[in-house]
C-alpha cells in the first residue's frame, strides 16, 4: 500500500533521513520506534507531504506521491495525527471535526461521520461546543484521532499518540487504535512506548539517527536483544 524507497530528507544542512526504505501492506499496523531525534516525525511528515524529500520516492497504491502537496495526499486517503495533537485551540470540538472533513464535500456524509465519531468517542459529544484548547490532554488526543478519521483515511499515520498521557488514557488510546485497524484502516504508528506499540503491531521498524537499523515482525523485533535493552528496558 505504501512503499518508501531510499528517502533522504534535509533540514537545511541537517541530514535527517539518510536513505530510508520501508513498506506497509493494506490492513497492517506497522510501528516505527526509535530514540528522540531519530527522524520518525520527519518520516511521517515526508509521507504527508509537509516535507519533501531531496532524494527517494514515496509510493502510495502504486502512485508516486513524493512531490504532492499535503492537501492532495490527504485527498488520496493518507491522514496524519500529528505529534502533540495540534488541536485548533480556538475552534470548538465540532469545528475541529469539520476541519478534519475538509476534503469531504458531501454534507450528509460529514454529518454521518461526525455522529460515528461521537459514538466512538462519547466524551467528545458532551464537549462538542467547547473550545479545543480547553480540553484535557487525553480528550485532545481523542479529538485528534476523531478529526483524522473524519477524512475517511485508508492509511492513518499516528505520531506518538500516547505521549504525555496518564497510564489509563494510554490504555484507551491503544484500544482505539486496534479498533480502527480492525475496521479496515491501515496504521503507521510511531511510538516511544515500545512495549505497547510492539504488542499491537504486525511489523516494526527501528530507526536510529536517520537509518533503519532493524525490521521484522513485531514479535521478532520485540525479542531482539538490542531492542530489549534500548527500548523495552530489560
Amino acid at each position: 500500500m505504501l512503499k518508501v524507497t531510499d528517502l533522504n530528507v534535509y533540514y537545511g544542512a541537517i541530514h535527517a533521513l539518510k536513505g530510508i526504505s520501508f513498506d506497509l501492506q493494506e490492513g497492517e499496523i506497522v510501528t516505527l520506534i526509535g530514540a528522540n531525534g531519530a527522524g520518525k516525525s520527519t518520516l511521517l511528515n515526508t509521507v504527508s507531504g509537509i516535507l519533501h524529500a531531496k532524494e527517494g520516492t514515496v509510493e502510495y497504491l502504486g502512485e508516486n506521491i513524493s512531490n504532492e502537496a499535503p492537501q492532495v495526499i490527504v485527498q488520496k486517503g493518507i491522514v496524519q495525527v500529528p505529534e502533540g495533537r495540534k488541536i485548533f485551540a480556538k475552534m470548538t470540538v465540532m469545528e475541529n471535526l469539520e476541519m478534519g472533513a475538509y476534503t469531504v464535500t458531501d454534507r450528509q456524509q460529514i454529518q454521518d461521520k461526525r455522529e460515528a465519531m461521537f459514538d466512538r468517542f462519547p466524551v467528545l459529544r458532551t464537549r462538542s461546543k467547547q473550545l479545543g484548547g480547553t480540553l484535557s490532554g487525553g480528550e485532545q488526543q481523542m479529538l485528534a484521532m476523531a478529526r483524522a478519521l473524519m477524512a475517511n483515511p485508508k492509511l492513518l499515520l499516528l505520531d506518538e499518540p500516547s505521549m504525555g498521557l496518564a497510564p489509563v488514557l494510554v490504555e484507551q488510546i491503544f484500544d482505539i487504535i486496534q479498533d480502527i485497524n480492525q475496521q479496515g484502516t491501515s496504521v503507521l504508528l510511531v511510538e516511544q512506548n515500545a512495549h505497547m506499540a510492539l504488542s499491537i503491531a504486525d511489523r516494526a521498524y527501528v530507526l536510529e539517527t536517520g537509518h533503519i537499523v532493524l525490521e521484522g515482525d513485531a514479535s521478532v523485533v520485540m525479542n531482539d536483544p538490542m531492542v530489549i535493552s534500548a527500548y523495552l528496558g530489560g
Partner: protein, 369 residues
C-alpha cells in the same frame, strides 16, 4: 557547593510598572474627566447639533478605518505579519473607482429632448455598484499579487523580515502611482444624485445638520461588509479554514487544507475590503492621489492593534473608536484639533497599558507555561 542552610531574607521588591501604571492611568483619566467636566458642564459651549455633526463625522471615518483595519487584522491573524503596504492597496482601490467614474461620466446616454446625461448621472446606482465592484476587484488583485511576489517567499522567515518587504512594497506602490498618475490631487466625480455634501437636512436649533448621502452609504456599507465578513469567517468553510490556518499551518495542511490558497484568499478578501474603503473614501471625501493610503493605513493599523490585532470584531471596534475619538475628542476635551492624533494615541496607550492585548484581544494576564 556551599551550604544551603541560609534561609532567604524576607524581602519584597518594588515593581516599577505596578506603581507607575496606575499613576499614569489615573493622571490621564483624571485629566480627561476634568476636561470633560470643564467643557460639558462648566462651559457648555457646544449645543446638540454640533455634537451630532461630530458624531456623524466620527462614525463615517470610523467605518472606513474599521474596514481597512480588518484587512490588517485578517492578514495578521493568519501570517502574524504587519502588511505595511495595506494602505497602498486601499489607494489602488481608490484610483480604480476614480477611473470607473471618469469613464461613466464620459459616456453620454441619449435622453430625449433634455441635454445629454452622462451614464453616471443617469444611472447613479449602477455606476456606484460598478465602482465598488471595480475598486474591490482591482484592490483584491493588488493584494493577491502583493502576497505572491513580496510575502510568499518569506513565509518561513522571522516576522520582521516580511515587514521590511512590505515597507519596500509600500514605497514601490506609492511611487508607481505617483509616476503613473502624477502627484496631483483629484476628486471623484460623484454621480449627481449623491454629490458630495448633499444629503438629508435636519434642522436643529435653527441650524442645519446635513446627513450626507455618501456618509450614509459609507457607514451602512461598511457595517454590512463587516457583518458579512464576520459571518463568513465564523460560519463558512473558507472562514473556518482561515482560522485553522491561522492557528497552525502544518496541521491545517494535514487536514487537507491548501494553505497557500487560503493565504491568497485572505489577501484577496482584505484587499477587497480595502478597495471598498478606498471607493467610499473617494465618494465621501473626494481625495484621490498616490499618498491617500498612507494616513488611513497608519490609523487603521492603530485601530487594529487597539481592538486586539488578529481579532475581527476588535478591528471593527477599534476603527469606530478611533474615528469617534478623532472627531469628538478635541472638542469634548477642549483641545486644539492639531493635537487630535495625540489624544488618540494617548488614549490608545492608556487602553493598552490596562489591556495589553487590545480592547477585545485575549486577556493575557497569565500566560500558560
Amino acid at each position: 557547593m556551599e551550604s544551603k542552610t541560609k534561609s532567604p531574607p524576607k524581602l519584597t521588591r518594588r515593581n516599577y510598572s505596578k506603581i507607575i501604571r496606575p499613576i499614569f492611568g489615573i493622571l490621564v483619566l483624571g485629566y480627561i474627566l476634568w476636561r470633560l467636566y470643564e467643557v460639558l458642564i462648566v462651559q457648555q459651549a457646544y449645543s446638540i447639533e454640533i455634537w451630532l455633526r461630530l458624531l456623524i463625522a466620527g462614525l463615517i471615518i470610523g467605518g472606513v478605518y474599521a474596514l481597512i483595519a480588518i484587512g490588517y487584522t485578517l492578514v495578521y491573524g493568519i501570517l502574524f505579519m504587519i502588511n505595511f503596504a495595506h494602505g497602498e492597496v486601499m489607494m489602488i482601490g481608490t484610483f480604480a473607482g476614480y477611473f470607473l467614474f471618469e469613464v461613466t461620466k464620459g459616456i453620454n446616454v441619449a435622453s430625449a429632448g433634455n441635454p445629454p446625461l452622462s451614464f453616471s448621472d443617469a444611472y447613479p446606482l449602477i455606476s456606484v455598484i460598478l465602482a465598488f465592484i471595480v475598486g474591490m476587484t482591482v484592490a483584491a488583485a493588488a493584494g493577491f499579487f502583493l502576497e505572491k511576489i513580496a510575502y510568499r517567499p518569506l513565509r518561513k522567515a522571522p516576522r520582521l523580515i516580511p515587514l521590511i518587504s512590505a515597507i519596500g512594497a509600500s514605497f514601490f506602490l506609492q511611487n508607481a502611482a505617483q509616476l503613473l498618475f502624477s502627484p496631483q490631487v483629484r476628486d471623484y466625480t460623484n454621480p449627481a444624485a449623491i454629490a458630495r455634501g448633499s444629503g438629508w437636512t435636519l434642522i436643529i436649533n435653527d441650524s442645519r445638520v446635513v446627513i450626507t448621502y455618501t456618509g450614509v452609504l459609507t457607514f451602512v456599507l461598511s457595517i454590512l461588509l463587516m457583518i458579512g465578513l464576520y459571518l463568513m469567517v465564523q460560519k463558512t468553510k473558507l472562514g473556518k479554514a482561515m482560522r485553522a490556518v491561522a492557528s497552525d499551518k502544518n496541521t491545517a495542511a494535514l487536514m487537507g487544507i491548501d494553505v497557500d490558497a487560503i493565504v491568497s484568499r485572505t489577501f484577496i478578501i482584505s484587499g477587497a475590503l480595502a478597495g471598498a474603503a478606498g471607493v467610499m473614501w473617494g465618494l465621501h471625501n473626494g481625495l484621490v492621489h498616490f499618498f491617500v493610503g498612507f494616513l488611513p493605513g497608519i490609523k487603521a493599523f492603530t485601530a487594529a492593534v487597539l481592538g486586539g490585532i488578529g481579532n475581527i470584531p476588535g478591528a471593527m471596534l477599534g476603527g469606530m473608536f478611533l474615528g469617534l475619538v478623532e472627531s469628538l475628542g478635541p472638542t469634548a476635551l477642549g483641545i486644539s484639533y492639531q493635537l487630535k492624533d495625540v489624544i488618540a494615541f494617548v488614549i490608545m496607550i492608556v487602553i493598552l497599558i490596562f489591556r495589553p492585548s487590545g480592547i477585545l484581544g485575549e486577556v493575557l494576564s497569565e500566560e500558560k507555561v
